[in-house]
């Protein structure tokens, strides 16, 4: 009962109340409260990522799994970032600077530490380069894949290939210099592309609405880890 029915009942009641507030004005207060609560829950829920990461990497270190030494890098980076974030936020360096004599060795150390632990700089110069470069690798793979696998074997594939090549040409200055390419690109995007994406969008919309209803009514319950 507690493990199965109660969660389903909570979901149903919450869903019905949220749905009804669109039509019953006195429920607006409940709606606003629910939004606030759900935002707090979302903030706490983010801790799960941190806990999982620490668990996975400490386990790897304990078991001396393959490439376990790199887990030290992850855990060190995690701690470094958290320490940097808290020191920057709570103004520790401002306080340390205030206690230093101008030009002293101590001031130099504090300044160096402050710069090495600059939360925003680490984000801009470590996280952005790595993540952006990882995704940019896809440029090489998409070019290679297009060369190797993009073949006009059937009518449908030919259609896809022609549309792709026109759009590729029509979205860059060099291609736009070819007469008519820009106009055809705009037409492809505005008309057949819009029609196809609209069809998909309506289908997905119907699917989303029906799935939401199924969740509220307890028909769909896999999200709770229940199979039936």
């Amino acid at each position: 009962m507690m493990r199965r029915q109660v969660p389903l009942l909570i979901c149903f009641v919450a869903g019905i109340v949220m749905l009804s507030q669109n039509f019953i004005p006195p429920l607006t207060w409940v709606y606003q409260q629910a939004l606030e609560w759900a935002r707090i829950i979302s903030a706490i829920a983010l801790f799960i990522g941190l806990i999982s990461l620490v668990r996975v990497h400490t386990m790897k270190l304990k078991r001396k799994a393959a490439n376990y030494r790199y887990s030290y890098v992850t855990l060190f980076a995690l701690c470094y970032m958290i320490i940097a974030g808290f020191l920057t936020k709570y103004g520790l360096f401002v306080k340390l600077h205030a206690g230093c004599d101008t030009g002293s060795a101590w001031e130099w150390i504090v300044t160096a530490l402050e710069k090495a632990l600059n939360f925003q700089e680490i984000f801009l110069n470590v996280q952005i380069p790595i993540q952006a470069t990882m995704f940019s690798l896809l440029a090489f793979y998409i070019a290679s894949a297009a060369f190797r696998a993009f073949k006009a074997r059937t009518f449908e594939a030919t259609l896809l290939l022609i549309a792709a090549m026109i759009v590729m040409l029509g979205r860059v200055p060099l291609g736009q210099m070819i007469p008519g390419v820009k106009e055809i690109t705009v037409w492809i995007l505005d008309v057949p592309n819009t029609a196809a994406k609209r069809g998909i969008m309506i289908g997905v919309g119907l699917g989303m609405a029906s799935t939401s209803l199924k969740i509220m009514l307890g028909i769909e319950r896999t999200y709770l880890g229940m199979k039936d």
């Binding site: 709606y31 606030e36 925003q120 790595i130 070019a143 290679s144 894949a145 590729m168 609209r198």
Partner: protein, 288 residues
């Protein structure tokens, strides 16, 4: 025929080198190809441009993470520069925790160029708030309850720009920059539920999916990928990294089109000369 067989069995690293050269060469020797502004970009530009100085603020949401910075940061900067140059108040926010640093960096970069404008009065950085769609809905109910403080920790009540901002009624237009379907959530809640005008700047991957919303008028305008950013840079007369990149983009696209054509020519011309088994799998090597 030998060349065609060579093409079919070519090491993928040769393609990698060609792609790298196609991008590097125009970056070193720019071609300065002309940028043609499309109507989707102009629509967003006009929607912002017609706002009077010191009007209701524009809400800019930086809903992307570092992986798509090269595409989306130039358009965020271009739209911010447009607003700052016209002295239109701007509120910058993000629904992604990793977008917080990017939003702050974009706002601070542009703010440095306009020392006549002051923080809190002309622009504000509200930072990240957890909950995604719940935050978007929350703004419609009560802005200050959703954002009790800005991204630096200053209470919202102390920011003059927010004095008259109660909900979406007090926002002139919101522009979402995203690499995900976040712009659809803004349309669904901010536009459809609360009637706020929504514009979007999306990665090229997402751009074609947004066209139905443009056609239905649910989106005010759209910047799609680096070309969208370059077009906006042209409209505001401030060429930036997107404009620089468009030459390389042109050459790389031409290279990929040539590669596709060569791949097809080689495949079909050698079809009869290959064994049936080879026809099914014409290439050697692992993944693409």
């Amino acid at each position: 025929m030998k060349f065609l067989f060579f093409l079919l069995q070519m090491d993928r690293r040769i393609v990698f080198v060609l792609v790298a050269l196609a991008v590097v060469a125009p970056l070193i020797m720019p071609l300065n190809l002309p940028i043609v502004v499309g109507d989707k970009v102009r629509r967003l530009y006009d929607a912002i441009d017609q706002l009077p100085a010191r009007s209701r603020p524009v809400l800019v949401s930086v809903d992307y993470d570092p992986s798509t910075v090269p595409e989306l940061q130039p358009m965020t900067l271009a739209v911010l520069r447009h607003c700052f140059s016209k002295e239109i108040p701007v509120i910058v926010t993000t629904m992604f925790p990793t977008g917080a640093g990017l939003a702050r960096d974009a706002m601070e970069t542009v703010a440095k160029e306009y020392p006549n404008l002051s923080y809190g009065t002309d622009y504000a950085y509200m930072g990240y708030k957890p909950g995604y769609s719940l935050v978007i809905l929350g703004i419609g109910e009560n802005f200050q309850a959703t954002y009790p403080s800005d991204g630096y920790g200053t209470p919202s009540s102390k920011l003059p720009i927010l004095k008259n901002v109660k909900n979406y009624d007090d926002i002139a237009i919101m522009v979402d920059f995203t690499a995900s379907a976040a712009y659809e959530v803004w349309i669904m809640f901010a536009h459809q539920k609360y009637g706020c005008k929504v514009g979007a700047g999306v990665t090229a991957v997402m751009a074609s999916d947004a066209y139905p919303y443009l056609n239905s008028g649910q989106l005010e305008g759209l910047l799609g990928g680096l070309s969208g950013a370059a077009e906006y840079e042209k409209l505001i007369g401030a060429p930036g990294t997107a404009t620089i990149g468009m030459d390389a983009q042109s050459i790389a696209h031409i290279l990929i089109i040539v590669l596709i054509i060569l791949g097809n020519v080689a495949y079909f011309a050698t079809r009869r000369h290959r064994e049936p088994a080879q026809t099914a799998t014409p290439q050697q090597g692992g993944s693409a």
